[in-house]
Amino acid sequence: MGTLADLINSTLVFSVALIFAALGGVFSERSGVFNIGLEGMMTAGAFGAAIASYYMETDGGATTSSPWVGLIAGVFCGLVFALLHAYATVSLKADQTIVGVVINILAVAVTLYLVKIIFDGAGDTAQLEQVFAKWPIPLLSDIPFVGRAFFNSYPTTYIAYILVPLSAYLLFKTPFGLRLRSVGEHPGAADTVGINVTKYRYIGVLISGALAGLGGATITLTTTSNFSHSTISGQGFIAIAALIFGRWNPYGVFGAAFFFGMAQALRNFLTRFEFSQSIPSEFLYMLPYVLTLIVLAGAVGKSVRGPAAAGEPYDPSKR
């Protein structure tokens, strides 16, 4: 049982960033904006976290607060690119997929450009000394199996525990959520009853940027301790897979991200066992993508469908 608890524990480390980014995707797509740019926004978040924490360490000495500053900086950097995305796709009505591709290109280019300027041509940031440590939660972490698996983890994991039900509540139990979803399902109808489509789509995209940035920052502050071109490498696309696999629902997304995180955790975990030699690691890498395809292809027709208006700019004149 101990081994399984350890597996769940390390799965959570990999999953949390995916959960954040995919949750962000939920808000954006529920409001009717496709967000292929999650990868770029995560990259921006990872960069922001690495740089802010680095300056906190060099200027203020290594303090325990520096990872928190990094986390906030990551959110902020994600927001910057989300704002660009929202401006192009909502205000200028540009194609959402293409803008997403642009965000991915720009985020990687801009962050690496800045890293090279700040660190004199080096392709990665300095290793951080102060990153998040695991916080066992008093009492809860003493529960035999569950405590070891779920309550002996990084602070970011606990944030995810809170954000998932909170997002679900926001989306499905509040007027705000209803409006956001209505804008994604039928913007014309929403507009008719007086909901500001532009405003809600901006909010959706900005939340997605903030959460994707948080996800990127999480990777820097719990896994890699620095930022380079390979810090994110594809996590944003796995988040999109988790978003679809979780059917645009926060709890579903949590489950899917947990599952995909496990695929990553297993890669390290399986090396403990003899039989793992016979499984090429590439197949484990592939797993999230293959499963998503199978789910999408297996469910013909309407059962797996995102918000009806996702992908289309809203044009009041075509109402």
């Binding site: 990687v108 280019a109 450009y113 993508y289």
Partner: protein, 367 residues
């Protein structure tokens, strides 16, 4: 579906040029903020591309793959499909060509063409998978293609690691000399730049792109589906077959790009952690080139030149090569957000704009 065709069939030809200028301007500003001299940097870029015969040859080497992926993306766009999966098709084509180049031993006159055709077909099949998923399983092509890109990357790495690469190494041995598609005399003429058949076949593909779409009945049907799938269906066109056909041809173009990278340029393949991103550059090229084969060719020249030139910027002006990615990203941003350009220049071009509106109506027809 129409949205893809809509963006790309804008009658305005001035938008790409303004986008290029704005993109270069953005790059300049970013360099200036970073403390570099933009003029020196762009000068270095120009010198790198047009400086020597060798450099010009290597620029063409940089142009070739994005010409192929650009054609792939553009062709699919014309038929109403956003092929974001050119990346995966490129990788699959490349890996198949490497496999044939290493594992099969034949005389030259058959070996190289075989590797080329197998690579192209594998790219085509990988593309067709996207078309099939869209036609028969209703899967959005953007999502399936993104998933297939990553599957292609890991499948390729698996093939390389388990069959083609020696233990402990990260790259395959060189392919057999008989499978090479390099052009020796041209290479010597260009002072050792890695010249191959790629650019020539690429130019041939530009022609094929045009003839297929505008000079055949099949192409007419594909374009009709691209304009309005429902109308095309009502007119009796088999749109499911059309999706698959489109993606096969698109995948074949992208696959050829991968083929020439191995058979023509490198002669070996490397295990990669992430793809080189030629498929995404292809989207940029197609968008800039307005989906027209000649536009794509010009777009590929621009982005290929920028990419190769960035090494010179780094060498001479010490500017990080990422600056060119920023320029390319900005250019696509401005082309995609053409609304921005229009608002900015509207006051200056009021007359022209009204004339173009009329043009837009005419352009709506297929044919």
């Amino acid at each position: 579906m129409n949205r893809a065709a809509d963006i790309f069939n804008k009658p305005s030809t001035y938008i790409p040029f303004i986008a290029i200028l704005l993109g270069l301007l953005c790059g300049g500003i970013v360099m200036w903020i970073g403390g570099y001299d933009p003029f020196a940097a762009y000068g270095a870029l120009w010198n790198t591309v047009f400086g020597t015969k060798y450099d010009f040859g290597e620029t063409i080497v940089a142009i070739t793959p994005i010409l192929f992926t650009g054609l792939a993306v553009g062709f699919a766009f014309r038929a109403g499909i956003f092929n974001i999966g050119a990346d995966g098709q490129y990788i699959i084509g490349m890996t198949a060509a490497t496999f044939i180049g290493l594992k099969v031993h034949l005389p030259a006159f058959i070996h190289a063409p075989l590797a080329l055709i197998v690579g192209m077909l594998c790219g085509a099949l990988w593309g067709a998978l996207v078309g099939w998923l869209k036609a028969y399983r209703g899967v959005n092509e953007v999502i399936s293609a993104i998933m297939l890109n990553w599957i292609a990357l890991y499948l390729s790495n698996y093939m390389l690691r388990d069959f083609l690469v020696k233990k402990g190494e990260q790259k395959t041995p060189n392919i057999d000399e008989t499978a090479s598609l390099s052009i020796g005399w041209l290479k010597n003429f260009m002072n050792g730049a890695r010249m191959d058949w790629g650019i020539w076949i690429g130019l041939l593909c530009v022609l094929i792109f045009y003839v297929l779409l505008w000079r055949t009945k099949q192409g007419y049907e594909l374009r009709a589906v691209g304009h309005n799938a429902d109308a095309a269906k009502a007119a009796g066109i088999n749109i499911k077959a059309s999706f698959i056909k489109t993606m096969m041809i698109s995948g074949a173009f992208a696959g050829l790009g991968g083929v020439f990278s191995v058979l023509g340029v490198f002669h070996y393949q490397v295990v990669q952690a992430a793809s080189a991103g030629y498929g995404f550059d292809g989207i940029a090229v197609a968008l800039l080139g307005g989906n027209h084969p000649v536009g794509i060719l010009l777009g590929a020249f621009l982005f290929g030149g920028l990419t190769y030139g960035s090494s010179g910027m780094n060498f001479e002006a010490d500017v990080p090569t990422e600056i060119v990615r920023i320029v390319i990203g900005s250019i696509i941003f401005f082309v995609a957000s053409h609304g921005l350009i229009r608002t900015v220049i509207q006051p200056f071009f009021k007359k022209r704009k009204s004339r173009e509106r009329k043009g837009a109506g005419m352009n709506g027809n297929v044919g």
